[in-house]
């Protein structure tokens, strides 16, 4: 195993991306909350919201810094570990890669300006306007990079003749069928994760006995985001199911352990698979649900795995990741829904400690769900790296030193993974909210 560059390259890519997507997701999700908090603060002349935006920005900046680092790593690692893939991809899908760098460039410039100009404008609305390029830049980066991933699932916009790419149409490649559902899902889940992390921080402080209205304002703002974006995530998650059923049926079938093509297909939750018999034990079955997920009709026919040659099956363990992702998504939606019901109906206390605990749990759960969903979609594409054209095994580096690099980068991520929370905690405990609010009063 230690000599197989393909497997090792997959592992190294896995840990790099697994680490990077945490930073990337938060980096895409949080700017909209910073921006809206600052705008509310300016419009309602409420300096609590301004302070909220400031403190969120501080944490955000450190995460972005680490995200820049891991993003640079994955940018280069794609070429270092998958040279043949990048060679092919370079021919067809380099446009969004190129534009992603532009979008990130744009974001980085304005983040630099935004951070250091809090008090440099007479009219604070000018400072708020600087946050718009950050929001656009970060979401646009997510958009462009997701188009590349979508392209790997549904490659379009070229002809392959004797190993050479001809008739290349960069925009067709970019706007491939997988793009809309993937982009939508990536963006709303990033907003959702950002919201839940911010809500979890506020809930944590409230649970610790802080009573300042600052935390309650933060919680409420974030929880509205949690609810709206969890609903959006469920909607486009459903659309993603329909996309899969239509364009990439083997991925859906593998995720659902759906072997025989049938109509009135059932949705399976959990279970243990006997692969030889293709039988499932201990699973919960929901009649018609898979047909509805796939085609919105209980009677629709869903293609099963047995219609595909077995060497093209994705690994079947993705079923569990699929289930876990959905369960966490439902949990997040339920928590935010309950919070809003409690909040709008005065009979309940929306700051109930048990509810706050559930919100606190929601933060790490949201990140886990991002990881599970990402594993589902990447492993579900196996054995292909460009579905139908190029297999993962054909494109890995032939170098014999991947194992050493795996160790090297693992140590790096371990160090960063320990230092990052330490630094963040130290940063936020050094200046408490209360002291900053008091200071602000003196200035006013």
């Amino acid at each position: 195993m230690l000599e197989d560059p393909v497997l090792l390259s997959r592992w190294l890519t896995f840990i790099t991306l697994g680490f990077h997507i945490i930073m990337a997701t938060i980096g895409v999700g949080i700017p909209i909350f910073i921006s809206i908090a600052e705008l509310i603060g300016i419009k309602k002349k409420d300096h609590h919201y301004i302070l909220l935006a400031k403190r969120w920005t501080r944490g955000y900046t450190i995460l972005v810094a680490v995200g820049v680092v891991t993003g640079t790593i994955i940018g280069f690692q794609l070429s270092l570990l998958w040279p043949s893939f990048m060679q092919s991809a370079g021919h067809v899908i380099s446009l969004p890669l190129f534009m992603e760098t532009f979008a990130f460039f744009f974001e980085a410039i304005f983040l630099g300006i935004y951070l250091y100009t809090w008090d440099r404008f007479k009219n604070p609305i000018f400072h708020w306007m600087l946050s718009i390029p950050i929001v656009i830049g970060s979401s646009a980066s997510a958009f462009f990079i997701t188009t590349v991933n979508a392209f790997m699932n549904t490659p379009r916009g070229f002809d392959l003749e004797n190993g050479a790419f001809t008739n290349v149409q960069p925009f067709v490649a970019m706007f491939n069928p997988a793009m809309p559902s993937k982009v939508s899902h990536v963006l709303t889940t990033a907003y959702l994760t950002g919201a839940f992390i911010l809500a979890a921080i506020a809930a944590f402080h409230l649970l610790r006995g802080k009573t300042h209205i600052y935390y309650k304002k933060a919680l409420h703002l974030a929880m509205i985001g949690c609810f709206v974006f969890s609903v959006a995530t469920i909607v486009n998650g459903d659309i993603s199911g329909k996309f899969l059923a239509y364009y990439q049926p083997e991925k859906l079938a593998a995720a659902e352990w759906h072997f025989e093509t049938t109509d009135r297909a059932k949705l399976l939750l959990g279970g243990i698979l006997n692969e030889d018999e293709q039988e499932v034990k201990f699973g919960i079955e929901i009649p018609y649900a898979l047909s509805i997920l796939a085609f919105n009709r209980p009677s629709a026919e869903v293609i099963g795995l047995n219609d595909f040659p077995q060497d093209l099956w994705p690994p079947l363990y993705i079923h569990y990741f699929f289930n876990l992702m959905i369960m966490i998504g439902m949990f997040l939606a339920a928590v935010s829904f309950i919070y809003l019901v409690f909040y709008y109906f005065n009979r309940f206390n929306s700051l109930n400690p048990w509810l706050l605990r559930a919100i606190l749990l929601g933060g790490p759960m949201a990140i886990l769900s991002i990881e599970f969903g990402w594993i589902l979609t990447e492993v579900g594409r196996q054995p292909w790296i460009l579905r139908g054209y190029l297999k993962v095994a054909e494109t890995a580096t032939t170098s014999g030193h991947v194992f050493e690099m795996l160790i090297l980068f693992s140590l790096l991520y371990l160090a960063l993974g320990i230092l990052l929370p330490v630094i963040l905690i130290r940063l936020f405990t050094k200046k408490s909210v209360e002291s900053e609010i008091d200071k602000h009063h003196i200035i006013l």
Partner: protein, 46 residues
């Protein structure tokens, strides 16, 4: 075809609609917990 609309157009609309709903909701809702904050600092002179 309805399927193409759902798969290729609708998801993009979902993003924009959810952003719009979020912004409007946050702006239209009244100040949260404003009547239960007597035990804390009163808001600034703003």
């Amino acid at each position: 075809m309805i399927n193409d609309f759902i798969i290729l157009i609708l998801p993009i609309l979902v993003v924009f609609i959810s952003l719009a709903v979020f912004f409007i909701w946050v702006f239209k809702s009244k100040e949260p917990y404003s009547n239960s904050s007597k035990n804390t600092n009163v808001k600034g002179d703003t």
